[in-house]
Symmetry: C2
Subunit: 600 residues, 2 copies
Amino acid sequence: MISIPQPHPEELFHTPSILGFCVAKDESRIAVATNFSGRYDAWGIDLDCAFPYRLTNEGQVPHAMHFDPQNRYFLVAFDRDGDENAQLYLAPSRGGPKQPLRTHAGRRFMFSTVSKDGNRIYYSSDKDEPQFLCGYVFDLETGEERVLYRGEGGPTVLAAVSDDESSWVTYTAFANTYQIAHLHRDGARTSLTPDPSTPHVVASASFVGDDVVFATDYLADELYVASFHPKTGSFERVWAPENGSVAHLAVHRDSETAYAVVMRGVIDELYRVDLRTGRAEKLDAPCDVIGQLEVGDSGRVYLLGASDVHPGNVWLRDLDGTWRALTNVRPMGFSPEDFVRAEVVHLPSFDGLELEALPFRAKPEVANGYTIVWPHGGPQAAERKGFRKLFQYWLLHGYHVFAPNFRGSTGYGSRFEKMVERDWGEGPRKDMIASIEWLLSQGLAERGKLFLVGGSYGGYMTLLLHGRHAEYFRACVDIFGPSNLLTFAKSVPDFWKPIMKRWLGDPDDPADRERLIQDSPITYLDGMTKPMLVIQGANDPRVVKAESDQIVQALRDKGRDVEYIVFDDEGHGFMKLENEIEAYRRTVEFLDRHRQDEKP
Amino acid sequence: MISIPQPHPEELFHTPSILGFCVAKDESRIAVATNFSGRYDAWGIDLDCAFPYRLTNEGQVPHAMHFDPQNRYFLVAFDRDGDENAQLYLAPSRGGPKQPLRTHAGRRFMFSTVSKDGNRIYYSSDKDEPQFLCGYVFDLETGEERVLYRGEGGPTVLAAVSDDESSWVTYTAFANTYQIAHLHRDGARTSLTPDPSTPHVVASASFVGDDVVFATDYLADELYVASFHPKTGSFERVWAPENGSVAHLAVHRDSETAYAVVMRGVIDELYRVDLRTGRAEKLDAPCDVIGQLEVGDSGRVYLLGASDVHPGNVWLRDLDGTWRALTNVRPMGFSPEDFVRAEVVHLPSFDGLELEALPFRAKPEVANGYTIVWPHGGPQAAERKGFRKLFQYWLLHGYHVFAPNFRGSTGYGSRFEKMVERDWGEGPRKDMIASIEWLLSQGLAERGKLFLVGGSYGGYMTLLLHGRHAEYFRACVDIFGPSNLLTFAKSVPDFWKPIMKRWLGDPDDPADRERLIQDSPITYLDGMTKPMLVIQGANDPRVVKAESDQIVQALRDKGRDVEYIVFDDEGHGFMKLENEIEAYRRTVEFLDRHRQDEKP
């Protein structure tokens, strides 16, 4: 009798996203970075009344947030329209207009922490050492900045500072899979792991008294919890998950407890680790993937968690083990049942390597028989069981979605992740083809009814697959993907450059150069015969606009059908609601136009 | 050491406003009408997590909101850009796209209630009887609308419907101070008060079983709680506050308890009244003024309350008497200490009548020595101890504000309120002058440093004072004020017309006509020698744009200095953030420009 209309799929994009949060020292409130009003800003949420109030009114993405422990200020970092040059500002503790704290045109500030009294701010920046970075402390009382260290060997960021500010930990990266850490103490610099020349990763470092607790995959394939004792100089393996890799670690110093997010393929698990005994206990979590994890002084745990049918929300785990949502983000007009859950499948690739993949099947009542193949970005990242507005938007429009975690994806160990290094275009590409063939063989998609859409590395893979395997696809959408690895390698941010050789290859090295040409989409222009849509943000510092410009121009010179959309106020991602909606509305219009049945 | 910037006064307007709320039958959530994202919409708030979620995405003001008791729909009324022609829509219960339920171009629907099962919607409308209105029930199962009654004698709205839907109560208005009520039952129509021909008001009617409980000032100067028993036909006085008038009444049927908001001049008090014994108890309230009051089936009380330095928030009074805020609206960057509290003074008018007035003194560190005199709108309304963004904005800019509650204001009894009827321009105008003279005599303002700003009736009073007493003011701002009572009387909404004679006067009656001319600002063009700013919403149905157009044109024809701003997408009030900011920014720029010291 009462007929209630279904919302338009586009309404999904109006669902706020929470990018991150911080917890006040006294745990009376949190701040969340969210686009509640269509633009990103920092909003405060009191724990006793979750109705949020504005802390900033900038309409930009807060890249770091921190409440002064003495409640005099709220520290926040903003870039400008996606340029990723985060600058540090102070706003009043209750929120208000921002005042520049540390700014430098064209450079960025990576906030680390503040002193216990809130009077000194610790951060790294590329302003003095564009490639290797420096670490700094800024004294709010004197207004003076002091250099803590200059980066060495690779981009070096400040990871943690001891309570007495006499010691700190830095990470130096040579690749995403090779990041070492040093303890700086009494003028000396000591590796946290026994042999920094063996490739491994150190992450999530915290001080526990004098000791440093961290996650590492030193001499292992997956990250585990370890500690370093400066007095004895000893490295100790504390706890390793039976299965999976420690992706985040949050330490409660008083109880010498660590909370660990363990990544197992497409899902996360939460553990509590007793640092004294090395024993761990699995905790229930209110979500499938955990984006951020914090522990308060009280021992309460805070996380940002989502699942495939539930948007990301901030949750609080009380001392009695009960979870309480501090936010209530929900897509207007949709219930979880309106969304498609991610299936998880395993398939053998061309060389027998097992791949995990997520096929999403559009509901029968709307399914149009077409499938969007989605190579994810990164490439050292993965599609997981989080809430994907874009996927659900496509699914509501009737498209199936298929997201294979090709070699190089995270969540499957270090060996697997390294497979994409210096091999961007061969193994992963063949994984994509093997995955597509598997999908077709299972009857989950129909040959001739495939589309290809990807962003960033996924945009690169889209271009490459289009150039070399156009026969599979009806049309392709490239979202800020590198088109030419020779130019791409030289156009990334300065502090990425030291890791490019190990990650991608060096265009100035003749041996690498040939492979980079072979793996560049622009080498395969002749093969790119299908209609294409290219979308780019003008301020993108990772994949610069010239990458999209050149492939669009080259294809247009050949008379190909290429639609090109540039957003002037976006970077590597669409952070303004109206742009996000336009980008994805036009993507669906483009796909709809290129379906066999020519439906509008 | 850490210098935190003060927010710009304009930031105040970004503070969300809550216009109203509704409570779900099961009390698991509420809906609020708020401009959280810069535009008005309905937002849901679960009682166990106050983080709001969108129920609508219209960017318009929700004029009525109701959750289906069976959780199938959310009923909401929207007008369009301030035209006040509220149309009824259904959205999904969780929020989502709206579907027209009852719409009629150029006419309005006044939602009353829904049946206990949610299947029938009760409302009144001017669509069939433009002046007197009709009451209707719409059956969601059959899609049929039935006329319950046709209005008689005056605009007649549907006030309440009995649980079994066999009886209903209507209000018929002859003036703001003369509104009678009838019980419709078994085909008969009975006045709730013994003598409907004696002018009085009936309001806040509810059924308690067969009986009707309501507030009335029948044979009294202030409203008290009364009841009507249809079986005996008897009217009973239940409880009268010692001091003050019952402004809202919310009834808990099971316990036969009424919660009463008692208006005492510029503040409200909250009482619990036992309807069986007629005994009442004063309850503490978390605010000074109460905008809305509801009682849930559980007996919990919900109100929308504010004070002079605290914006309006929704509060829940639990059964144990404790109050909990369900919303946490706060002005970004400001603390209550940054605002100016309303002082409350009493002064004798020209004829000895005591007037209450609110002088707000700008803080010494910003005070510029100038005072804005503010005649309020209505005129049967009042300035009270609520949160006034506009006043605080002016105060932060250094202007003192002075708001006298001239004769005709509400909160001082029926006799006082009636003093403005058929006397818009004489008594109240002299009250304004007497109040200004008092202010000057007290040394609270300086002669030669007064500005005059008002909206609606306050705009009319601004124009009239400008025309007749320009010597007091440096410059004047008229916000949608009637300029010509002859044209105004004929341009109001149809269903206002029956009350115009008693309220204002009849331009077609020669006796009234002369007075209306004498009280019309446009009669005093020659006196309007000071600079003027006029602001108007193009869709204003109460004071139509022609009222502002004609005075602006007439003054410009005389070569006077008049600035005129029209907002195309606003009605009688600025409901879009960017318009509100522009209107008041330009007001301050205008006042600043006309200060003696010529500061920018």
